[in-house]
Amino acid sequence: MTRRLLSIAAAAAFLAAPPPCRALDGLMEVPFFMEAVRAQRLPSVEQRVPDEPAIAAFGRPGQRIGRQGGDLRILMASPRETRMLVVYGYARLVGYDYTFDIVPDILEAVDVVEDRIFTLRLRRGHKWSDGHPFTTADFRFWWEDVANNKELSPAGVPRELMVDGEPPQVTFIDAATMRFAWKRPNPYFLPSLAAPSPLYIYEPAHYLKQFHKRYADPAALKKLVERAGRRNWAALFNRVDNAYRNDNPDLPTLDPWVLKTRPPANRFVFERNPYYHRIDAWGQQLPYLDQVIMNIADAKIIPLKTGSGETDLQARYLRFDNYTFLKQGEKRNAYKLHLWRTAYGAHVVLYPNLNHKDPAWRELFRDVRFRRALSLAINRHEINQVVFFGLALEGNNTVLPDSPMHRPEYRAAWAKFDLKQANALLDSMGLSRRDSRGVRLLPDGRPLEIVVETAGESTEQTDVLELIGDSWLKAGIKLYSRPSQREVFRNRIFAGETQMAVWTGIENGLPTPDTPPDEFVPTSQQQLQWPKWGQHHETGGRSGEPVDMAAPRELARLREAWLRATARIERARVWRRILEIHAEEVFTIGLIGAVPQPVVADARLRNIPDQGVYNWDPGAHFGIYRPDQFWLDKLVQEAAR
């Protein structure tokens, strides 16, 4: 993953798709700022963009250079979601491009040696949204005065920067160059910088120093703390310094749109960042859209409002079952409904609890024959037709066809509806005694009744369970579904009281060999098939239980091998082995995947892909498609009238 990170990648992508007409010839002033520049309230665009601005690639099919101007309205459910503009804006030190490769963005270049020495180079002349220079001093401030300050970071240096319990050696070479070096490879470093909720390793030092004990005048700071009603300066610092929360209009940023409304509010205005670092090949500064306006409405009302055209770009809070309603309003309200792919490994997944506290059930769930039989006794095709209009993908909870790691057998293994084989497997386990209903009996005489718990939020899940219940009964297994409340749902699973749970599958179904395989290995309590093993890993052995089963232990060993691997091909090999084990062992019973995500966009909005991938990480929802390159085509609007 070393060499392809060079900025050449971005340049190459740009060259591959020549701009429609003019080449780079001087910058054009942004109409939105024309007046401010003329009145000398703002320097001209040449002085605002970095000396070497990032030139946006328009390589995706159908992408065109646009025109500046226009507002975009979006809907969110809570004032807290001002952070979504950080996600959509997607200005990162390094970021994923639309093919899921990591390329430099805010940084001019990253030089990586052996995956352990990272030399970061900033763009000279890059400025914060208030016009103050953005230099390595901002990184140094973060590293020395925030990350290594006991009061501000009681947990110490962020986990992503720790390799074998050791922090990196950080060297600041000059105003634009710095180096992070570890003794061993750190494969988490760049992905965490590119994440939708990124690791911020820089902060606007010039603004934040007034809140920092080391720099601020004690009396002035005390007054600030009191006025804000905070307990101490650290609490206040954390309040004002939250680039991701994005709720402080005074905090300078590097994002394409800057918050202008002070919370609390019901309508937030984000204005274009005059110092944004990206331009197009015509010399127009990005973003194209002048303002983003975020209105707050209840999550349940958002599909309704979307259908009446009250938003120009919406995917959050729209669900697949809104599809028909949204389609109806498409013409009348001049929007376009796209269906994007989602990146969940599967949309509905059953999780047998391998940490169940009843030994009899635990043994049963740990028997691979039993898990295979459960999977074989499900008619996925029927579920797809009945609940998802046949639009989803049937099969296991594994990587998606778009991932380079995908092989059809991962999704198909033990996922074909075959009651005969399921019954044969169950008989071979010695579960052949049945009661009068035809339900099998456990060796201790209890009937084989499985309670599947749901978080009680979607009728989709209960519908699916209803269908499964019918076919399981033919294999001699009685299914009861039990809706609860999310908090209770999780706690019961963690405590080993739940037999089986239903939830969504792995978050990132589009891994590359360089993606950490953590989701497939017991590493987190949130992995509902083995919460206690995950907790054991998460807490470093302080709570939970150590893995006491062969195949998951093998998975943990493979993860170690992945962490130590230096060559991409070796990582790919490890990944395949992990996926094979999952396919064979059926730790989770995936049902249906790739359920499309409705995306509604104003019919005039350009450069938004018709078919995209809607995912959190990697993806940042719209982020990797660069909303700063979206623009409103006014001509279409006039023609439509």
Binding site: P79, R80, P264, A265, I293, L304, E310, E487, D617
Partner: protein
């Protein structure tokens, strides 16, 4: 009378204390706390949040303290005018409510006015023309209004406005005025939008008021003093206004007690459906996300208003209706 007043005022203190305790306990009852709902909300959209950060927030928000200590801090703070801190907004509670409170007052008073203006004449007409076609027709409408849940009416209205006219009826002002300082244009815009929520919220209240007024008035109309008045030759309208109508006004006054809290928290669900920037939706989201100080302070505010409202309506009743006597229970 004075002793009674003092007694009533003093009894409010333990009442409010008890309410504050119950409010706090009930908000804390669901499993988890604000942070767990917060984490869940992030996770449901695919976001992750680091355990270190959560641990840090737990300390900062004081969730590591026992519940009675949290209660004590809140209670003492409230007595000093500090209503605590909203986690959801990361702001002190008193900074959040602001304009919402004013808009809520506007909507609520408009609704009350609408209710009275409409129900008064209709109620009188229905009672004086009992079992006429007009009475039946209005009664039918009244029952319809009473039986239709407000939020359903709002949804139906939204749907038809959308499908038939292609407009959206939500909101309380045109978009460009939101979060702007008050101006003449903004006021006009609010007035333009006001009638829909007022009708939607007011319908069932109006219907109920019509029925009550009609029933009360019917009782009075059959009494002997009315017959006497009529026999003495008082004009029918003057008679009606002068005696039986006054007697049947009690429900209007007794309602003040329940009106005040409605003014603040009322019609929350309608407000959500119509996206009104009032306090109701805020209370509901605060309760859902267990933003306990915001929700708690809100409920306390509503409780205080209820207590005061009941007190006021009792005094008003005693003052206006000479038939009502204090201490009636003592003699028995």
């Amino acid at each position: 009378m004075l002793g009674y007043l003092v007694h009533r005022v003093l009894i409010m203190i333990p009442t409010l204390l008890a309410i504050s305790f119950i409010v706090f306990v009930i908000i804390q009852l669901p499993p988890g706390d604000y942070l767990t709902t917060y984490i869940d909300e992030l996770r449901s959209q695919g976001e992750q949040v680091s355990l270190d950060r959560i641990e840090f927030l737990r300390k900062e928000y004081g969730f590591d303290k026992p519940w009675w200590e949290q209660y004590a801090i809140w209670l003492v703070g409230m007595l000093q005018g500090d209503f605590g801190f909203s986690f959801e907004y990361s702001l002190p509670v008193k900074d959040i409510v602001g304009e919402r409170l004013w808009l809520t007052f506007i909507v609520s008073f408009a609704t009350i006015a609408f209710t009275w203006v409409v129900s008064f004449p209709i109620g009188v007409y229905s009672a004086t023309h009992q079992y006429s076609w007009g009475d039946y027709g209005l009664t039918f409408l009244g029952f319809l209004g009473l039986a239709t849940p407000n939020f359903l009416l709002a949804l139906v209205l939204l749907y038809f406005a959308q499908v038939e006219f292609g407009i959206s009826v939500g909101g309380l002002m045109d978009e460009q005025y939101i979060e702007q300082p008050w101006s003449w244009a903004k006021t006009l815009s609010v007035l333009e939008h006001l009638w829909i929520p007022v009708i939607v919220i007011g319908t069932s209240g109006t219907a109920a008021m019509i029925r009550r007024l009609r029933a009360n008035l019917l009782d009075e109309l059959r009494k002997q003093y009315v017959i006497t008045g009529r026999a003495k030759g008082l004009p029918p309208f003057r008679l009606l206004i002068k005696y039986p109508l006054r007697m049947s006004l009690n429900p209007f006054i007794a309602d003040i007690g329940s009106l005040l809290p409605q003014v603040i928290s009322g019609a929350a669900i309608v407000s959500i459906v119509l996206s009104l920037p009032t306090t109701g939706p805020m209370l509901i989201t605060a309760l859902k996300s267990q933003d306990m100080y915001l929700a708690g302070s809100f409920l306390m505010f509503v409780a205080t208003l209820t207590v005061i409202g009941v007190f006021l309506s009792d005094i008003a009743l005693a003052a206006l209706d000479p038939r009502i006597r204090l201490g009636g229970g003592i003699r028995r």
